[in-house]
């Protein structure tokens, strides 16, 4: 096995006493103190995540809008004249999800962040289609990403000398460049906050300044419980290349409004009957126990499977995302170690803006 990759902040994580884990060939912090404490720090105050394992791409020249219109299932025109970020998926010709990603646009420049495990696949995919639009794909392995998330994220960032005051004007999904630094009001926790996509040469000073201002370092363990409470999919668990967006809770990212736009996978998607395909729903376990990926579930009109499952520190119950046959109603059963336990089906967005959904 090859030596795992390390982010620029690897030594800092070790110095903070982090437990490390191999995540898609990267040696990453899973927790620093207690996952539970880290989770609550983000919900109640502010935490900082090193997510520099994610893949960053820039683009140069050519018809970049035409390129994204072709490869991206969401419509890039939504942000082409704004300083904003847009979430969506790239599909293969069969409509299978190759990855989910965010494209940022500001000052006529696009920057893209996609998953770590799909880095090589995506780089090849972008390059394959970029050529016909005269676009150069630039892999920014010199870039790192910090996510600063929580109700106190913005005030904490404003207290840092390294960050200009103009970030306070960013709306949700708004973004801005300062030189090669990109600041965006995005995240993966269901809280307010920003993601800073900055050169590795600068990342240690941002990290140290944020810790000094009270940001709690957060590992991948709490990142998973936070994103699941917010009902956000994880690539590899909740969506894969063998599933299409309509059975992955991603219909809202498929933009077919522009009839003249022919994106990769569109024809396959048009043939899918959305009223009969499986759906992703939120699941909450009634009693004690913890839902885990792979657990089988059943309801009055069909079956399903848990894709992501965990214990929710905020709801103090086990929650998960499940892919199920339609007609699921409000409740069903999950098999945990040969016992059928009661589950309730609810919106996958268990929390909204850090508050329990009603």
């Amino acid at each position: 096995m090859t030596e795992p990759k390390k982010t620029t902040l690897h030594a800092s994580h070790k110095a903070l006493g982090a437990k490390m884990v191999n995540f898609a060939q990267w040696d990453m912090p899973i927790s620093y103190s207690s996952l539970m404490e880290e989770h609550h720090a983000v919900r109640k105050s502010v935490g900082i995540f090193d997510v520099s394992h994610m893949a960053v791409f820039d683009f140069n020249g050519g018809d970049q809008i035409g390129f994204f219109e072709k490869i991206f299932a969401n419509d890039i025109k939504k942000i082409a004249s704004a300083n904003k970020a847009l979430y969506g998926v790239i599909l293969n010709e069969d409509g299978g999800i190759l990855d989910d990603l965010i494209i940022y646009h500001a000052d006529e420049k696009f920057r893209l962040v996609s998953n770590c495990s799909t880095r090589e696949q995506n780089a090849a995919w972008y390059k394959k289609y970029a050529a016909e639009f005269g676009v150069e794909v630039i892999e920014r392995s010199d870039m790192g990403i910090l996510a600063i998330q929580g109700p106190k994220a913005v005030e904490t960032l404003l207290a840092m000398d390294e960050i200009s005051d103009s970030i306070k004007d960013l709306e949700t999904f708004g973004c801005m460049f300062e030189g090669d630094h990109l600041y965006a009001r995005t995240g993966y926790t269901g809280e307010d906050g920003l993601e800073l996509i900055v050169p590795n040469d600068d990342i240690l000073s941002f990290w140290n300044a944020a810790l000094e201002k009270g940001c709690v370092p957060i590992g991948l363990g709490a990142r998973d419980t936070l994103r699941l409470e917010a009902g956000l999919n994880l690539y590899g668990n909740d969506m894969t290349v063998t599933h299409h967006p309509y059975e992955s809770n991603l219909a809202w990212t498929i933009d077919t409004a522009d009839d003249s736009r022919d994106f990769i996978g569109k024809q396959s998607l048009l043939e899918i009957d959305q009223s009969s395909c499986q759906k992703i729903i939120g699941v909450m376990l009634e009693g004690r126990g913890v839902l885990r990926p792979g657990y089988e579930i059943s309801h009055e009109h069909g079956q399903g499977i848990i894709l992501s499952g965990t214990y929710s520190p905020t709801l103090e119950a086990s929650i998960g995302l499940a892919r199920v046959d339609q007609g699921f109603g409000k409740s069903g059963k999950v098999m945990i170690r040969n016992k059928a336990l009661n589950i309730n089906f609810i919106s996958p967005r268990f929390l909204r803006k850090g508050k329990i959904s009603s």
């Binding site: 899973i30 207690s34 539970m36 004690r288 126990g289």
Partner: protein, 128 residues
């Protein structure tokens, strides 16, 4: 690693057992085990009256991250389970050797203790 109490014996799978003065035994999981698991949120305990063979499944402990089987260090009959664990499973994290015990049993053969690891031997297992 924190101190391991000297009156305990261990399985290499991180369960401990203490022989009490009345000849019953108390079972739990080690400090190292709770540290590996992280925040514990749920425990499934055996039934009182249940007979369990040494090194077979006795309980299940679930942290946020993972579910893990707990094996019985000794054979015997369960005579009591820790009632605190139902509502406060996190006590296993804070007090693995005392308040976080799992169950007590009447052992079938206390001679089985001889085959378990001493604190020193168990420490060596954890450091491997």
């Amino acid at each position: 690693m924190s101190d391991i109490p000297g009156d305990l014996k261990f399985l290499s799978s991180h369960e401990w057992v203490r022989v009490e003065t009345d000849g019953t035994v108390t079972v739990g999981i080690s400090d190292h085990a709770q540290d590996l698991l992280g925040d514990i949120v749920f425990v499934e305990l055996p039934e009182v009256g249940q007979s369990i063979d040494a090194e077979s499944d006795a309980a299940i402990v679930e942290s946020v991250k993972a579910a893990s089987d707990v094996y019985s260090p000794l054979s015997g009959e369960v005579i009591e389970v820790n009632p605190t664990l139902e509502d406060q499973p996190e006590i296993i994290n804070s007090s693995p050797y005392d308040d976080g015990w799992f169950y007590k049993m009447a052992p079938l053969d206390l001679g089985e203790v001889e085959s378990l690891l001493s604190p020193e031997d168990y420490r060596a297992v954890c450091e491997d």
